[in-house]
């Protein structure tokens, strides 16, 4: 696969809180890179001696192998007072980075994969919701996504219908806005930042900006790690490992609308690193 439009995008390559002078060896789209803190404490990312463009934002160090045309996407909630910011830490998954994002956009698997946490039988129906590609921002948005959640929060005793909004601001990143029980009218922000190591291998860095004055930081980390580790065995057992842009071997339904919109957007922008172009 030739390197495509994704080369000029920003990718997470490490936690700011874990930066040190020794440098951490990792990879980005097949290239070995090193992430270190400079003598002045700033982040420095190099690839074969070349210094890469770097940003430090949302708890993570971001880098690009190419020449980014756009600034790293904005998450306004990251500057909102009263939120707690949670570095969930890295989890490696043997799958396409695009598959990791697609799974994050999916609610229909909640009853079977996140049983009794995010969903439960018989509440499996996916109601219609809205999806659009916002041309001005060049982002995929899914809104009015509602799904029955058996235990909405640690303190909740019963189930509620939780509302979600999904946003894809970059090919390997997604931002989820979710009903925030302690603060009606506000949204909890849960992100999935994916570092593409290779077309079929990725490091996933979840990050959160929550209104929650009750839970310990470790509880919050463990909750999100629990959810993601339930997904990991799914992601490692989907065939093919790359994300098909031609659904000829699949059967998407209206419940898969966000997935279809995400794939359409990838196809339109030529974001094909980690994608399978022809169904087989």
């Amino acid at each position: 696969m030739t390197q495509d439009a994704m080369i000029d995008e920003w990718y997470p390559v490490g936690l700011v809180s874990r930066l040190d002078g020794n440098g951490r060896k990792t990879a980005l789209m097949g290239e070995p890179i090193e992430v270190a803190s400079d003598t002045d404490g700033s982040a420095r990312v190099t690839s074969k001696g070349r210094v890469l463009p770097v940003r430090v934002r949302y708890g993570h160090v971001w880098a690009s192998l190419g020449q980014p045309q756009k600034e790293l996407f904005a998450i306004p909630e990251a500057d909102q007072p009263g939120r707690r910011f949670v570095d969930v830490g890295v989890v490696r998954v043997r799958c396409s980075p695009l598959r990791a994002v697609e799974n994050f956009l999916d609610i229909a698997h909640f009853p079977f994969v996140h049983t009794d946490i995010l969903g439960s039988e018989p509440h499996t129906e996916v109601q219609n919701y809205k999806v659009e590609i916002r041309e001005d921002a060049d982002e995929v948005w899914a809104t009015q996504v509602k799904f029955y959640q058996p235990q909405a929060a640690r303190s909740a005793s019963g189930g509620i219908t939780t509302e979600y909004m999904y946003r894809v601001p970059a090919p390997t990143c997604s931002v989820l806005y979710k009903t925030c029980p302690p603060r009606p009218g506000e949204w909890d922000v849960i992100t999935l930042f994916v570092q593409p190591l290779a077309e079929d291998l990725c490091d996933v860095w979840p990050w959160m900006a929550l209104f929650d004055d009750e839970s310990s930081m470790t509880d919050l980390i463990h909750f999100q790690q629990t959810i993601f580790l339930q997904d990991r065995s799914i992601l490692e057992n989907q065939i093919p490992r790359l994300l098909p842009l031609d659904p000829g071997m699949e059967i998407p339904t209206r419940a898969d609308l966000t997935s279809v919109a995400y794939r359409r957007w990838l196809k339109r922008r030529g974001y094909t690193y980690g994608a399978q172009l022809v169904a087989q």
């Binding site: 339904t253 898969d256 794939r263 169904a279």
Partner: protein, 90 residues
């Protein structure tokens, strides 16, 4: 939406975009067949494919989902659906 009755709809589906591809019509037929949908291609030309389709709404939705992505050499801009008057011989 949990009732047992499956209403059979007859719809005209209009697919617009860069769809002037010999690969797309067979692709649509294959996908419709996989969904058990009766379809009839009414028009296939540069920029527009029109077909009549009959079946339960969820299945027609599924055809729309599949077609909106389609094969890699096709770019679908929009898909519109309008009621058709039982035009597929059903």
């Amino acid at each position: 939406m949990t009732g047992q009755k499956q209403d059979q709809l007859h719809e005209r589906m209009t697919i617009r975009g860069a769809v002037d591809s010999a690969s797309f019509v067979p692709w649509i037929r294959r996908h419709a067949a996989k969904l058990g949908l009766r379809q009839e291609i009414r028009h296939a030309g540069p920029g527009r494919i029109e077909l009549d389709v009959a079946g339960p709404v969820e299945l027609i939705d599924m055809l729309e989902m599949g077609c909106s992505l389609g094969p890699i050499d096709v770019w679908v801009e929009t898909i519109t659906r309008t009621p058709a008057a039982g035009g597929t011989g059903g």
